[in-house]
């Protein structure tokens, strides 16, 4: 008997409304207090192609992807022969009785679900038929593994915003199917849920929405965007939450503007313009859009304009796999734009950090007067995850070094500091800026992507150019103090270390535990941001071998670490792959053993 520790695959056809059924199951299990996660694997298509939903319950609180699952809900006749190969021995196939089950496995149980008969018995409104079919498996599965029907109803209420006209027909089918299962399935299938209390104080949300809400709590004032999967939800969530969070109910006026641009070239131009003019500004995109933003990002870096760019990564290069996940944009983000530059990159690894980095990124960008890239991915952005309730920002909004009329007057009166837009008055590489609307006669300056001196005057003087670039480099040291610090997740004084980041944290965490159970202790450091800080270097120094775990082909983080810390390059190894799926702990463990074994 497996209790609270197994995986379920739902194989359906996209456009058939299975998302409602699947999300209902995830939420009902969540409400039972059991840690649960789910990944939607879907095609770049609107209707008629295969789609899968992979749900994992884990009372050990592991959220990484499983290579194989224990229960398969088969609603798509075209894929069942392949799907069934990924069932563990002793698994269960729940199959729509109109599909003939493949005879290729005799080590699993098969339950034929009389979907049409159950639907007929429900006398549901016929226009809902196709959508209600999925509620049949919700009911049967609920009986089979013990999902609390009260929680299923509550989950449906949540989904349909308490509209009884939608909840009732759906829940009616669920109950009918449950009853059918009760009457017909009397053997023990070996998988059970037992209610726990592990989700107290937790919420369920997708990364895109979490990032958007974070930005609105970070005082975002201007966002421009262009539709692109998987980033679209982030901008749409801004539009959804501005009326609630950033609109004065008495006057109806809002403090945040969202513009849908004509393309990503314009989206980045708009936010650079807004950031320059003193608005907290942000855009959200994915790889192809980020490519188009490269030139303006170089200008923003050089002209020192604060902007935040969310890259919800998908698989590239090129159009790639638009609906599949990867961590393949890291190296591009690091090197984006021609010439010398350094970009601050934040790497959220869960939806809680999407919220947190959502507001922090705006502070960091304004304090450093530089672009900040936040690298999320499809896995995080478009799936619903559980996290601790969002914590209110622990720091006040910090607008950085902005001078208004009274500040310039005071400086003039004190007379010890003469302001120049690009003059380093504090020795931290960060100059003071004024913004349009400042009416002080000395406030205006001319911003350009060409060479300039401390006073923003055009200059082709070689020394001016070099001085300016060296000052910009000094900002990197200031950045190290502002960015989220790396986290030592596991320290067992092992000679082997893991480094990971973003969503690869999920398999990395689990792999570290699994290896410990096999008496192969590994330490683990999670990087939350770039530039790399001293503790990253210390970690590399303290381990004979460090393995960098990430979802891209080339081991991009590994390469950046080797480049930044060449003295340790021969001790840094890569555990990386890119096939459009997130990594699994099982695969990470196997890779580690193979590589470590070779090294020994």
């Amino acid at each position: 008997m497996k209790i609270n520790e197994f995986g379920i695959a739902f194989s359906t056809i996209n456009g058939s409304g299975s998302a409602t059924a699947n999300n209902t199951i995830q939420r009902a299990i969540f409400k039972m207090g059991i840690p649960v996660s789910a990944r939607n694997i879907f095609p770049s298509n609107i209707q008629g192609m295969p789609t899968w939903y992979h749900l994992r319950v884990s009372q050990k609180e592991y959220y990484g992807r499983l290579e194989k699952e224990d229960i398969l809900i088969a609603m798509n006749p075209e894929t069942v022969a392949e799907d069934i190969k990924k069932l563990n021995p002793n698994g269960i196939l729940l199959i729509n009785s109109s599909i003939s089950p493949p005879g290729s496995r005799n080590d699993i149980s098969i339950v034929k679900m009389p979907v049409n008969e159950i639907l007929e018995a429900c006398a549901s409104p016929s226009n809902l038929g196709i959508y209600l079919a999925n509620m049949v498996y919700v009911g049967i599965l609920s009986f089979l593994i013990g999902i609390d029907l009260d929680q299923v109803e509550k989950a449906l209420e949540y989904h349909f915003n308490h509209r009884r006209s939608a909840v009732d027909p759906n829940f009616n089918v669920v109950k009918q199917a449950f009853q059918w299962a009760q009457e017909n399935l009397n053997q023990d299938y070996g998988y059970k849920l037992e209610a726990l209390d592990l989700n107290k104080g937790r919420i369920m949300i997708d990364g895109n929405t979490a990032g958007a809400i974070g930005a609105l709590f970070g005082g975002l004032q201007y966002a421009a965007w262009y539709p692109i999967t998987p980033a679209t939800g982030l901008a749409e969530a801004l539009n959804e939450y501005i009326p609630r969070l950033r609109t004065d109910p008495s006057t109806g006026s809002s403090t945040c503007v969202v513009v849908q641009a004509e393309d990503e070239l314009a989206a980045i131009g708009m936010v650079v313009g807004a950031g320059w003019a003193g608005l907290r500004s942000m855009t959200s995109t994915s790889g192809p859009g980020l490519c188009l933003m490269a030139e303006y990002l170089g200008l923003a870096y050089f002209a020192e304009v604060p902007v935040v760019i969310w890259d919800v990564q998908r698989v590239g290069p090129s159009t790639g796999l638009p609906t599949h996940t990867s961590q393949g944009d890291l190296a591009f983000s690091y090197f984006i734009s021609h010439g010398d530059k350094d970009f601050v990159i934040l790497l959220p690894s869960d939806v809680g950090e999407c919220f947190e980095f959502g507001w922090k990124a705006l502070d960091i960008a304004e304090k450093l007067q530089t672009p900040v890239l936040v690298l999320s991915d499809l896995e995080l952005g478009m799936n619903i995850w559980s996290t601790d309730r969002f914590k209110y920002p622990d720091k006040k909004i910090d607008r950085g070094k902005i001078l208004w009329e009274k500040d310039l007057e005071r400086m003039a009166k004190e007379g010890n500091k003469v302001w120049g837009r690009y003059k380093d008055l504090d020795g931290d590489g960060i100059p003071y800026r004024t913004v349009p609307g400042n009416l002080n006669a000395g406030s205006a300056y001319f911003t350009r992507g060409t060479g300039h001196d401390d006073y923003a005057h055009y200059s082709e003087e070689h020394q001016d150019w070099e001085n300016n670039l060296l000052r910009l480099k000094r900002k990197v040291e200031s950045a190290k103090e502002l960015i989220p610090q790396p986290l030592i997740v596991k320290d067992q004084k092992s000679e082997n270390g893991f480094i990971s980041y973003g969503t690869s944290n999920m398999p990395a965490l689990e792999a570290v535990d699994k290896l410990s159970e096999e008496s192969l202790p590994v330490d683990y450091l999670r990087i939350k941001a770039i530039p790399f800080t001293q503790s990253v270097e210390d970690f590399l120094q303290n381990h004979q071998n460090t393995y960098v775990i990430e979802a891209n082909r080339d081991g991009q983080m590994k390469n950046l670490l080797c480049m930044n810390f060449p003295q340790y390059a021969n001790r840094i190894h890569s555990i990386a792959r890119c096939d459009g799926l997130s990594l699994s702990a099982e695969w990470v463990c196997n890779q580690f053993k193979a590589q470590a074994g070779k090294g020994a």
């Binding site: 403090t255 503007v257 070239l265 608005l279 907290r280 205006a444």
Partner: protein, 346 residues
């Protein structure tokens, strides 16, 4: 009063004309762009605009460089090639009381920037958008731009095989609310049109033929001084009348003038020349531009205006206080709001 008499004296808000000047130009002697810069200075001085209330934008090219050569006391942003409109679409939201002046060229607008040009027109962002149009790339030394006429011969390029893009026609097709064309060697008209543009509540597009004396000023070139002088066909005489001035129509014969009242109460007065022309008629504007192409006319004047078209700012509900002056407290929702968010996701 004669503007030349006025210029050395402070205007009503206390600024002399030199307060509106910029750095010395580095463009070629005789370049049409310098004359346009001068007219921007005059227009702002005469309209009594506070220089600090104006924001300059430009893309890349000779024309875009010129934003440094006027209004030194104004903020300016020299952005990327063809992508000045997007900068302005972000920046001008910061403080709606600011006036934007964008300077672009024919390459910057009609080649690399055609998309952003058309989109700013359809969004109707309140700002002045001047295209200093000479049909040629200057900074890269003499290549055809998209406004160069078919058959134009340039030294190292041979003959231009393509038909040109008509900036005014593109603007109207994109639903621009203010479209004018002028000629750099007609400074009075340029100045009046700039004043009208600065008073327009929407994107005011000025396509100004501004000859490149170094690379494209041959007599046969459609962007040369001599061709322009020989073919200029003004649609009307334009005079701008600020809101508070009495209209004195004595100069005009009664029955031959037409007025358009702008959003801020100012008037644009049109004196009829050879033919009737109604600049508020979009269909007529398109027809006139087509006719001008067929007949080789350099039509100048205000081709089309809709003073009441909704702007991009009308699409948002923003408060009176400029967005970029809002205190941090006004930008962060309170604890209660986060509590509601947490509740709604649990």
């Amino acid at each position: 009063m004669d503007a030349n008499v006025k210029r050395s004296y402070p205007n009503a808000i206390g600024y002399t004309r030199s307060d509106y000047q910029g750095l010395p130009t580095t463009l070629c002697k005789g370049c049409g762009h310098n004359s346009i810069s001068n007219m921007i200075v005059s227009a702002c001085y005469e309209l009594e605009l506070q220089p600090e209330k104006i924001v300059k934008f430009s893309g890349i090219g000779c024309s875009s460089k010129s934003t440094a050569y006027f209004l030194e006391r104004s903020f300016g942003f020299n952005g990327l090639h063809g992508r000045m409109p997007s900068l302005a679409e972000g920046a001008l939201f910061a403080d709606l009381s600011l006036k934007g002046i964008g300077i672009s060229g024919d390459g910057d607008t009609a080649n690399i920037g055609l998309s952003q040009f058309k989109h700013i027109a359809r969004r109707n962002l309140p700002m002045v958008y001047i295209v200093e149009n000479n049909g040629v790339y200057g900074l890269t030394k003499g290549q055809f731009s998209a406004t160069a006429e078919k058959g134009l011969k340039l030294k190292r390029q041979g003959e231009n095989p393509y038909l040109p893009v008509d900036i005014a026609l593109e603007a109207i097709a994109a639903n621009a609310s203010f479209v004018a064309r002028s000629f750099a060697s007609d400074p009075k008209q340029v100045k009046e049109l700039i004043k009208a543009a600065l008073s327009h509540d929407g994107t005011a597009i000025l396509d100004i033929i501004s000859p490149c004396v170094t690379f494209n000023n041959q007599d046969y070139s459609l962007h040369s001084y001599s061709w322009g002088k020989g073919h200029e066909a003004p649609l009307h005489e334009v005079e701008f009348v600020p809101p508070r001035e009495e209209i004195t129509v004595d100069d005009f014969e009664r029955g031959t003038i037409k007025e358009v009242t702008m959003h801020d109460g100012s008037l644009i007065v049109f004196k009829k020349l050879e033919r009737e022309y109604d600049p508020t008629n979009r269909t007529e504007a398109i027809r006139m531009l087509e006719e001008a192409i067929r007949r080789n006319w350099l039509i100048t004047g205000l081709i089309y205006v809709d003073p009441n078209a909704p702007t991009i700012f009308d699409m948002y509900s923003l408060g009176d206080e400029p967005l970029n002056r809002l205190s941090a407290e006004k930008l962060r929702p309170d604890h209660n709001a986060l509590e509601m968010i947490n509740m709604s996701f649990s």
